[in-house]
Amino acid sequence: MRVGLRLLELARERGARAIFVVGTGKNVGKTTALLAMYEAACNSGLRVGLASIGPKPRLRLHPNTIFVTARPLLPSSPSAEILKISELESSSGSLLYARTAYGGLYDLAGPSSASGLRVAVEEIAARSDIVLIDGAIDRLATLASANGAIVVSCGAAAAKTESEAVGDVATLTARLRVPAFDPLAGALELEGALTATMAADFIAAGEERQIVVGDSTQIVMNGRSLAEALARLRIRCRRTLDVIATTVCAVAPERSFDPGPFLAAVAGATKLPSFDVFAGREAA
């Protein structure tokens, strides 16, 4: 199957104009998923914009792609159209927006702050049909809640065992998919983060009201504590996120999982459409 196209369709069915690819760790196939969607979008004739939280390895871009990069990283050839030089800074230098005139190898870079990323994505979105963003979830939550879809990548590189990898992605997606709070029902609105200690206190006190945080990044828990808190408390968000799919990468230099069962386990644990971009498969 054409995984990139399928992911793109899933996002566009929801009206998303931006797709954020986040991962459970490094080298879990985020860039592969992003590139699969990028190829599909270009083949569909869309004007594509690309952004990244941090520097990315060089990517071969097609003509007419809008991208954000650091000034020192812009290659001299093929010459790209400079659209705007931003006041935003990245770890590699000041950022600029450019459009490829011819295909070639380009670096992506992005601002390190959430507010900076918001500006960058808005700049790119104004000039393109769809924006693909490689990023970290803690910087994306407030941005993705507007009209963005999220794809969560997981893989063998970020966990010692298959069950740990499945548990990690299930936890992350559960956190990202915390439902919206009901304004008509009783609620305890938190100003800041919900920590494991606070959750334990709420459970001990038999708290039945909705416990409301701004967005899911403010739920600062993992693993068993998070699972327990989500099961026993009515945790809700003011701004919800739209997680549309997961992708898996079963191979890593240090270990690998059996791709078929791993994909099936991820799909079962997350209850989301799940894809193996490397194997060109969707979980049954």
């Binding site: 400079i82 659209l83 600029l96 459009r99 011819y102 079963a250 194997a279």
Partner: protein
């Protein structure tokens, strides 16, 4: 804008120096650089200070504020070409972002000029240099107002790029055929990426030709699709085309860099001119926003003004929905200022300092009319200085050490603003100290305003006595005892006018009436009046 030794930090804080700096700060990197080097005019430079203030005030009068805002909004987005110009001057070849910035700079300079017709700013900023660079880079202006090293720069570029695009298309086609063949042989819709997984169950017999196994596992193979002969050939042709295109693009950059280098000095002049314009526009905006006038800057230790305002407080009051009452003063040499509590004595001192600061930087002043001297130093002594907790010195001892420091500084022309000096010691000795201080300042020909509640200082020191008129009538305390209401009632009752009075006129404190207005209970107030009459 640097105060240098005109002001110490504590006086700067009390007199709103930072507020003034923010209010007249330019907006472009060029203006900001010049502004950071701006220093006060010193005694002897009265004509220059007055000339600058007059020029700014005149432009402020002639130029509509909307035009000032429009020009400033252009300046706000002006790129900083200093690095680019410096680099090219030293032989560097510019990159495309550098050309983008230069093009934007040259175009913006022309737009700024066009936005300020007959404004009195003198010469246009755009010059032969900016026009030449703008013309040289014009083919790179794209529809998005960015910059692109377009084919129009070099007759050979279009052909080289077309060849590169053709070669890239050949690579894509050859690679696509290989991927399609492998996908078909594996029974898949596509093979995406350079590495892919093949499940052993998918492989019927051997792997398709060109597929290399990277890693083997029990159930799957991690594979890579090798480049076939036609792909490799296409890749070689693409690399060759890329090399030709790249060389031509560099040739264009080199030619454009030479044009920029030729005009580097002129661009530097334009950059300085736009910086000066920016600094002036910021001062014009300040003058317009605060209805300032050009002062007569005089070679005397004197401050004379009508309807003057201390702008930081005026801004604060405006936010709070309160009215600011301007003041008049004619201070030549030293003078004593008395008046009730909350009658504006401290603000009168600050107004003096603020106007002196404006004049020192050649700015119009917030007054209907003013004659202001230039000073070597402006110093504040007394209340208002941020109290330091702890330490070995009492507040009185700290005042005395501050005074000693002020008196020993070299400042032939000194403006000193004294707010209730020696208020924390006995009234008897405190008065003696204030009289001695006033006499010393008079002997030094300092311009000094000494605010005090002590009686007879002006007469004893032989200087002018100014007094805030004070409460016109004792208002009825607000029933709700609300502080805001009390302040409203106070403001309505207070006459902030400063008048010259006889040297021995006793100062009015109106302290008990104020205490009542501010909500002290009636019994307490009655007791105070009884005590006063005994």
């Amino acid at each position: 804008m640097k105060a240098l030794d005109l002001l110490d930090a504590a006086s700067a804080e009390l007199l709103g120096f930072d507020w003034l700096v923010n209010a007249v700060a330019p907006i472009s990197p060029y203006g900001t650089r010049l502004f950071s080097e701006l220093v006060p005019f010193r005694p002897g430079n009265e004509a220059a200070a007055e000339s600058r203030a007059r020029a700014i005030a005149q432009i402020a009068e002639q130029l509509h504020p909307d035009r000032v805002s429009a020009a400033r909004s252009l300046l706000e987005h002006l790129p900083d070409i200093a690095g680019v110009v410096a680099g090219v001057s030293m032989g560097a070849m510019l990159d495309d972002p550098g050309f983008f910035e230069l093009r934007l700079f040259c175009e913006t300079v022309e737009r700024v000029d066009a936005s300020l017709p007959a404004s009195g700013f003198g010469q246009r900023v755009a010059s032969e240099a900016t026009q030449a660079v703008s013309a040289a880079l014009a083919p790179g202006r794209n529809e998005a107002a960015g910059f692109y090293l377009s084919d129009a720069f070099d007759a050979d570029l279009a052909a080289a790029r077309a060849a590169y695009a053709q070669a890239q298309a050949e690579v894509d086609a050859a690679r696509g055929r290989e991927q399609e063949r492998v996908a078909r042989q594996l029974g898949r819709e596509e093979v995406a990426g350079d590495e892919f997984i093949v499940m052993r169950s998918e492989v019927l017999g051997r792997l398709p030709a060109g597929v290399r196994v990277v890693r083997e596992a029990v159930t799957y193979l991690l594979c890579a699709l090798e480049y076939g002969e036609s792909s490799r050939g296409a890749l070689e042709r693409r690399e060759a085309a890329f090399g030709r295109m790249s060389a031509l693009e560099e040739r264009v950059r080199l030619q454009l860099s030479c044009v920029v280098r030729e005009h580097a000095a002129g661009l530097g002049v334009a950059a300085r001119a736009i910086g000066e314009l920016d600094v002036s526009l910021a001062a014009v905006r300040f003058s317009q926003s605060h209805h300032c006038t050009a002062p007569a800057v005089i070679a005397e230790a004197a401050l004379t003004f009508e309807r003057a305002r201390f702008l930081p407080l005026e801004a604060e009051l405006r936010v709070a929905g309160r009215r600011y009452v301007p003041i008049d003063l004619d201070l030549r040499g030293a003078g004593v200022l008395t008046g009730p509590n909350m009658g504006g004595k401290s603000i009168a001192l600050r107004t003096c300092g603020f106007l002196a600061l404006c004049a020192a930087f050649g700015l119009p002043v917030p007054a209907a009319q003013a004659r202001v001297g230039l000073f070597d130093q402006i110093a504040w002594l007394g209340t208002g200085l941020r109290e330091r907790s702890g330490g070995l010195l009492s507040s009185f001892a700290r005042e005395v050490t501050s005074l000693k420091e002020i008196l020993t500084r070299f400042a032939p022309r000194l403006l000193i603003l004294v707010d209730e000096f020696a208020r924390t010691t006995t009234p008897h000795e405190g008065k003696a100290l204030v009289v001695a201080l006033t006499q010393r300042l008079r002997q030094r020909n300092a311009c000094a305003l000494i605010a005090t509640h002590l009686q007879g200082v002006a007469a004893a020191a032989g200087v002018a006595h100014f007094a805030v008129r004070g409460l016109k009538a004792i208002g009825t305390p607000p029933a709700a005892r609300d502080l805001k209401d009390a302040l409203d009632a106070l403001a309505a009752s207070m006459d902030y006018t400063i008048a010259v009075v006889g040297g021995d006129d006793p100062p009015h404190a109106d302290a008990i009436a104020l205490a009542e207005l501010l909500g002290l209970d009636p019994e307490f107030v009655k007791a105070a009046y009884r005590a006063l009459s005994q």
